[in-house]
Symmetry: C2
Subunit: 340 residues, 2 copies
DNA sequence: CCTGGAAACGTAACCGATAACGATTGCAGT
DNA sequence: ACTGCAATCGTTATCGGTTACGTTTCCAGG
């Protein structure tokens, strides 16, 4: 076993091989202008010392690093699914991935968070970045693709067809016979939250059901934010017979609150979510939800970013993916006395 | 909106503030020796330009970066769960996390993969690293914690009590009345794979059932590796009445193969996995498995690494976490003709 | 007025690597 | 032998930031 606790640098290799660091660099990067004999010497020295080039140092000087970045502020199921898609798209592409996640998991959602980390990475380390559910429009030297962008965003982005998804979800409830349908909205800076609320309103309008503003709770996609809202809605004497939550995380909290209040699902209350995170399939009853394939979101975002970096992208900058309704046990027709 | 497409560097700030970069650096890092007036000037310039220090550049010169690394070769449910635990442990700790994942998701599992990336990161970027299911013992200048380490590893690590877990799982099958129990092993360089096989043998021994080597298939934890093995086991005339797979990913593939061969689970075949990944709860039937709380694995690893970096760790270097059997629908007593 | 010393700040080396450029060498052609 | 070109390789500037060290400024004390 070689004692290798000290970091081995390029100059160490150069010294052992009896050449300059420039030559070592050329060998490492396979550049032109080194004789076979020298290459062999350098290779031997590299082997001997167990040298690996420093990503940091090379990225400082180089423009291309073949590393893409992903910035996420939380790390729940949503992000995890996205990540699987990203990894799939990047597999065997020559691009590595660096995910930057900060330690302020809870609270302190400061507006500038992503921008700060994006800047710190994209300066040199990464060739481009994916930002998941950002808090603002990003500025960067290198390409940035937003997954679920902010409202009014004009940059590259990938998102689900939230309007259609939400409309379908609420239509499903209407078809079952529900008329008083509560809604728990998401963080309103995101285009998705906005569209899902639009879908809610559109579906009601389409069915000739007036929108009751008091049935709308203002959440922020953070599951916890749904708890007081759900409680408020469900403790009303004229509680809704169904609730549509703008995300599965929040919908699952609605289920919890319902249980806590002694309401049976779907007997006393139907619940619909949005996202189709894995957990939604394994609750009892299963959560009816709108599938937006977070995997696909990640896959497409990575595919786009890859091409943007290499300058080969020729499709529209904003991708919208289809959604589909997944009906599980959390929705049913309202009991006759609820219908009134 | 400021036109800020060009990267803003420290010297830009210095120029605007009319000071040297050294002074800017002192202000940014809150070091001693700058007058209040100058600090204000520099702060103003920073605001004006929207400057953010480059993580790369500063990490090159500095020793501490307050960034921890995580290296993973694949990105399936297992890793995702681990990650949630890591993030939780790091939340509000002052440490950020960088996850490095390479693009060679499938195949090309070269032995030196992690070592290479570990070296590239730990040279300067990170203060320490977590390596998930490594392929070898890691050498590094900074602390490394292995999750599910290689066999014989002496470095810091976190793992489940694989021996007890596997023993319990097989005992469960024995209790149900199974005698011919197949086993699909994991990658044998990992301590976990070894221990799970040990548990399998121990449970059979304990019940006085001889170990039939032909009932043992050699997988590598990669789900796909289980397919031909399961097929071979289940197409034998004297096929086992139950199969214990060393991971859920492989167990789920066994379920698929069983379906493909027209075998009912648990009617014709009982299946037990190991890990308890989220998907195992939502298959039909649900997979009986050994829960090893990957979340906890990640949490403990991050906690240990954090302390190792700050030099405050005083507990044993190797953490073993308890497991528990989760019985779902994929296991049942064998039918009488299977028992023979 | 002079001196000492601390505070404030700039200069330059440095971290590890890359790349433009220039210098050297080798070899073929005359 | 001499020129010319290409192959080979070292020197040096550079990336963006940090820090050791040296210099200047300023004020209190003698």
């Amino acid at each position: 076993m070689i004692e290798a606790n000290a970091p081995v640098t390029m100059s160490d290799v150069a010294r052992i091989a009896g050449v300059s660091t420039a030559t070592v660099s050329r060998v490492v990067n396979g550049h032109y202008g080194v004789s076979a004999r020298t290459i062999a010497q350098v290779r031997t020295a590299i082997q001997e010392l167990g040298y690996e080039s420093s990503l940091v140092a090379s990225s400082l000087r180089r423009s291309r690093t073949n590393v893409l970045g992903l910035v996420a502020h939380s790390f729940q199921s949503y992000t995890a699914e996205v990540l699987k898609g990203v990894m799939k798209a990047l597999s065997r592409s020559g691009f590595d991935l660096i995910i930057y996640a900060n330690s302020d998991l809870y609270g302190s959602y400061s507006e500038g968070w992503e921008q700060r980390h994006l800047t710190r990475l994209s300066g040199t380390l990464t060739d481009g970045c994916i930002v998941v559910t950002p808090w603002g429009e990003m500025r960067s030297r290198t390409p940035v693709v937003a997954i679920d962008p902010v409202r009014g965003s004009t940059g590259p982005s990938v998102m689900a067809d939230n309007l259609a998804g939400a409309t379908t979800a609420v239509a499903h409830l209407l078809d079952l016979g529900h008329r008083r349908i509560g809604f728990i909205a998401g963080r309103d800076s995101l285009a998705s939250a906005w569209s899902r609320e639009e879908g809610y309103r559109a579906a009601l309008d389409g069915a000739g059901v007036p929108v009751d503003p008091t049935l709308i709770g203002r959440g922020d996609f953070n599951p916890e934010s749904a708890v007081p809202l759900a409680r408020a809605l469900l403790q009303r004497p004229d509680r809704p017979s169904a609730i549509f939550a703008a995300s599965d995380g929040m919908a699952l909290k609605v289920l919890e609150v319902a249980r806590e209040l002694g309401l049976a699902v779907p007997g006393d209350l139907s619940v619909v979510g949005f996202d189709n995170i894995p957990e939604s399939a394994s609750t009892e009853p299963g959560l009816t939800t709108v599938d937006q394939s977070m995997y696909q979101l990640g896959y497409e975002a990575a595919r786009m970013l890859k091409s943007l970096v290499t300058g080969e992208w020729d499709e529209p900058n904003q991708i919208v993916l289809p959604t589909s309704l997944v009906v599980r046990g959390s929705t049913a027709a309202p009991t006759s006395d609820q219908r009134r």
